[in-house]
Symmetry: C2
Subunit: 283 residues, 2 copies
């Protein structure tokens, strides 16, 4: 199966599970569902589920953990889009939550989605072993909090010039956690290190590909070499390294990410394909 | 020991623990500490710790769970104070987080304090038994989320006329969870029901006393019978019931709350005193 077809398949499975885990009983829960079931690739759940398959982890447990991660991701997007943060009106072609509903609701939607993530992980339905449930909560809390994703967003808002550190926290921490949940559920301590290294490379590659897309997309359309970030005076991998060096770094990360998967052999082919999928984003 | 002295003693213990659980390494963590260590009675930690004492629960575990609850409470205050919510510049005489720092930081502080609460609970340092840690996470996630505290805040913003339901979610859910963490740590399933009923009564009494204070405080100062909420066209227990009926409801709740503690005998005297403390707020 092609990576594109597999992504679509996994996204449908995840969206079905997220639909079952949310309600639409009132305005708040309707807005939560609007946020978490918006258009998206579901890349983090994909990584969790594929890593789980490689490790032979309990698939139902990994699916629920993948949903928890998507709840955290969705909450971070809702709060990042707020007027006091990035002030975005649209996300993937739809009004952002504070535009479709209102700002107060958007704050509460993010807050409640974060809660829901931990509720899902701690629920005995996720796994019969409470040690695994507690480990999953601890992993995700550390990845999302003031030493992880939230720290990265704070560095981004402060205009940090250490782009690699900022991005490894802002987007990398949750991408790494996505494969780690699978390792925790499978009880695969050794595999966890390799998968985490793979995901760290992939997350960085993803961001560089994004920055190249920003720069090169605009090069063609507007006839100038710099894009949205440069226009906004915002540092990114391309504005710091230049297009050519950023491309080289992206290729090197792709090679490195795939090498981390060597020990898993043919089983990890879809995780390898995910690297190519990220590379292809800039073509 | 008087209830006032005991409250001060417990608050000092909780603040010491919260200080140790937070850092001030960067602007975000400094703002988190500013929020969680601001002035306050630490009523929720007090209830957790005193309930834990009654039940003979592991005191170190209850203290950490009490800190987690205070983190959730502090996060809710930071977000409730935001311009898009209640738009408050001051909280207990100090600038609110979005005034002392900035709005984006205040959003991230709330987000990170919520994360920290779950990180504390899931950490093996809280309790050696992972089943207890997972149960604590599940309890707090349900109390704080879209079926608990966040739902109450949404109802408040929407101007719900069902004040009792709104308040039982907005403030009651977390107050009830405060005594329940002690019961979970003590493994006291039967006591949990009575303590939860006590806390539900206490939480409601607390809110009615607050509404009476709002109305009667202004009666003396401004010579009119209605206060801030009535002035803002906002329904509360006093605007809905009138002062006399609200007082009667408060007294009835106080009697009921104390009766819930009968099975604990003399051990529960500080929890009984907490009821009088709440009553005294309006004198």
């Amino acid at each position: 199966m092609s990576i594109d077809a597999r992504l679509v398949e996994v996204a449908a499975q995840v969206d079905g599970a997220l639909h079952a885990l949310t309600s639409a009983d009132d305005r708040l829960t309707q807005a939560m569902r609007y946020a978490v079931l918006g258009p998206g690739k579901r890349l983090r759940p994909f990584l969790a589920i594929e890593a789980g398959r490689v490790l032979g982890a309990n698939a139902a447990a990994v699916l629920r953990a993948a949903c928890a991660i998507e709840c955290i991701h969705a909450y971070s997007l809702v709060h990042d889009d707020l007027p006091c943060m990035d002030d975005d009106d649209l996300r993937r072609g739809r009004p952002t939550v504070h535009r479709a509903y209102d700002e107060a609701t958007a704050v509460l939607v993010g807050d409640s989605l974060q809660c829901l993530a931990f509720e899902i992980l701690a629920d005995p339905k996720t796994h019969p072993d409470p040690a695994i449930r507690a480990d999953l909560v601890l992993l995700l809390a550390r990845a999302a909090g003031a030493a992880g994703m939230a720290a990265g967003q704070a560095l981004d808002l402060a205009g940090s010039s250490d782009i690699e550190r900022m991005q490894s926290l802002k987007t990398g921490a949750l991408i790494v956690a996505s494969v780690e949940v699978a390792a925790i559920i499978a009880g695969a301590a050794e595999a966890r290190t390799s998968l985490a290294a793979y995901a760290a490379d992939l997350g960085l590659a993803f961001q560089i590909a994004d920055d190249l897309l920003d720069a090169e997309g605009n090069t063609e359309e507007l006839g100038k070499a710099t894009g949205k970030d440069a226009g906004a005076g915002k540092a990114n991998f391309v504005t710091q390294l230049g297009i050519s060096s950023a491309r080289k770094k992206l290729e090197a990360l792709a090679v490195s990410a795939k090498a981390r998967l060597d020990l898993f052999g043919q089983e990890a082919s879809s995780l390898r394909d995910a690297v190519d999928f990220v590379l292809d984003r800039r073509r």
